[in-house]
């Protein structure tokens, strides 16, 4: 998996990838199909592991040849030692967690840096949906209120507060839309919030 392939498949991941150092030891929490680790392994000589709960995703990871450990993120990162990783990724999965705060604390425990992304509920179409009296359904949030896996709704400002609480400094915060950073009114115009964090 090279950079241009990643950019086509997942522009959001392609944007994030430049924050990860060459040869870093990486944990990808909720790694899905393992595409990010696949890229980091082949293009940046990174090592590390993905964790994933879904059987079909674990199989895809094994087919790709990345190290995948099947486990439920809700149970924390107990099998990983303190400060074990240069960078911990938690990309587009935090909003599905019941125990967000506990997981973030664990991410801070096992990693030096962390990169966290989640759908920004402050994105303007979501706000207008609410103004119309309906829960937002969009390309970024393609679910009805009754079947969404996204049980945690946060805006960019909300997350910054929690990051501070669990011992993470915000190094950078970027709002992406379709993989491109939004600089003007990011909490309004960015559908995906991305935080680059460092342990205090």
């Amino acid at each position: 998996m090279n950079f241009s392939e990643l950019k086509v498949l997942r522009p959001d991941l392609a944007f994030i990838a430049h924050w990860i150092k060459q040869g870093a030891h990486v944990l990808d929490v909720g790694c899905g199909d393992g595409v990010m680790l696949d890229y980091l392994q082949t293009d940046k000589q990174c090592s590390g592991y993905g964790t994933e709960i879904a059987d079909e995703q674990v199989l895809v990871c094994a087919q790709r040849g990345i190290n995948v450990i099947q486990q439920d993120m809700e149970n924390g990162l107990g099998i990983f030692a303190d400060n074990a990783f240069d960078t911990v990724l938690c990309l587009s999965s935090l909003q599905m967690m019941k125990h967000v705060e506990g997981l973030l604390r664990d991410i801070a425990r096992v990693g030096n840096e962390a990169i966290v992304s989640f759908p920004n509920f402050g994105y303007w179409p979501h706000r207008t949906a609410l103004l119309r009296g309906k829960m937002p359904v969009s390309k970024a949030l393609p679910y009805e209120w009754y079947d969404t896996p996204n049980v945690r709704c946060a805006t960019i400002y909300d997350f910054a507060d929690l990051a501070d609480d669990v011992g993470l400094d915000v190094l950078e915060c970027v709002a992406l839309h379709e993989g491109k950073p939004i600089t003007f009114l990011p909490n309004l115009r960015g559908s995906l919030a991305v935080f680059r964090l460092k342990k205090k």
Partner: protein, 379 residues
């Protein structure tokens, strides 16, 4: 993964004779010995495609295929090993070895002790997982295999694969450990000892020298196997298969077979006592009990695995209460601490410990994906 894949077909075991004494972990030694071996597929030119499959308690070198004169005697991992199967014999040269002390042709307690000319019986030295691995390494030497593409096993077989990664880190590239554990729990040992006591207290056991008396401690073996079977199945699986079903539709108000589960366990016990050796049962359960590679490192499994070089695949089954997922996770954690390449799947299967021998597509597809990668490394 079903009909489309064929069995390897007719296979033939081979005996390998070893004349140099094998010094065992206990300090005892075996002067000379035979190992029964089956191989499937062909060894490639640079001898890089060999996979060793290690067996568990009551299995053997007969991993796949069947014998010409016994078409119903199908290898114990025939669903895993064969042409087009997860461990594909079109790509890999697969080796099954019957371990020392077992009762399927390799030297064991039923064979004559060269010192006395009589069957070893209770005098057969206690062998450990590490002893088996050293004997397997000698076989690899004879076959000219310097490094295995993978060493693989389930349960007690997984312990052997794990021991390979520690004892001979340069001699395997991959280590596949299914439904296994880094050591037995007190509960595991307790079950093993109840099984041993059943054998040891059977009047037909004769202190292990029952061969001379031309009897078999059948009652002991039967109870041992019944206990074993309880631990191989999950509570849910047993409830689903047998529930409280009655053999004859109504209570018999006696101590014969009332419930289907009783009938099943007795049948399994009877069948087992027809073919398994009582001394072998004692030896193999002891090997299970003694396995604890972390012991030499003050209980630190991370240190025990520090010199490993292989890449690992581990899998466990959620309803396996004999070697539960927690036990596999201990191994994963120690490997992660050492930054080893490791993948781990926790298969949500209802069949308890036995699941490692069954056809769960999530499990078999994962193993297939892993071996496909190994095959790609060969090319």
């Amino acid at each position: 993964m079903e009909e489309c894949m064929s069995s390897i077909g007719i296979v033939t075991p081979q005996a390998y004779r070893f004349d140099a004494p094998l010094i065992l972990q206990s300090g005892a030694s075996i002067a000379d010995y035979t190992l029964m071996v089956e191989t499937y597929g062909s060894l490639n030119a640079d001898k890089s495609n060999a996979v060793l499959v290690c067996h568990a308690l009551n299995a053997s070198h007969h991993v796949a295929g069947y014998y010409a004169d016994q078409p119903k005697n199908i290898g114990w991992w025939d669903n895993m090993v064969g042409p087009g199967k997860p461990l594909d014999t079109d790509k890999f040269f697969v080796i099954g070895v019957n371990n020392l002390g077992s009762c399927f042709g390799s030297t064991g307690p039923m064979h004559p002790n060269p010192a006395t000319g009589k069957p070893y019986g209770a005098d057969f030295p206690v062998v450990t997982v590490e002893d088996w691995v050293r004997a397997q390494a000698r076989l690899a030497d004879v076959l000219g295999i310097q490094q295995f593409a993978a060493v693989m096993g389930g349960s007690l077989g997984g312990m052997q694969a794990l021991a390979w990664s520690m004892l001979y880190p340069d001699r395997l590239r991959h280590c596949v450990v299914i439904a296994s554990t880094p050591k037995l729990s007190a509960q595991n040992i307790a079950f093993n000892d109840v099984a041993r006591q059943a054998i040891l207290t059977d009047p037909d056991f004769h202190g292990g020298d029952f061969y001379a008396h031309q009897v078999v401690p059948r009652r002991g073996l039967r109870v041992a196997r019944m206990i074993g079977h309880i631990t191989y199945l999950s509570n849910d699986d047993m409830a689903e298969k047998f529930g409280r079903e009655l053999r004859n539709g109504e209570y018999q108000f006696g101590f014969g077979v009332d419930f289907e589960i009783e009938s099943y366990l007795r049948y399994q016990g009877d069948k087992f006592s027809d073919y398994f050796d009582a001394n072998t049962y004692l030896l193999i359960t002891k090997a299970l009990d003694y396995f604890d590679p972390a012991q030499a490192y003050g209980g630190n499994l991370t240190q025990a695995l520090a010199n490993t070089k292989a890449e690992f695949l581990l899998a466990s089954f959620t309803t396996d209460w004999r070697f539960s997922p927690e036990r596999s996770r201990e191994i994963v954690q120690a490997l992660v601490d050492n930054r080893r390449k490791v993948s781990y799947a926790e298969i949500d299967a209802p069949h308890g410990h036995d699941a490692f021998l069954l056809d769960d597509p999530r499990y078999l597809n994962l193993v297939a994906a892993y071996y496909n990668r190994i095959a790609a490394e060969l090319a």
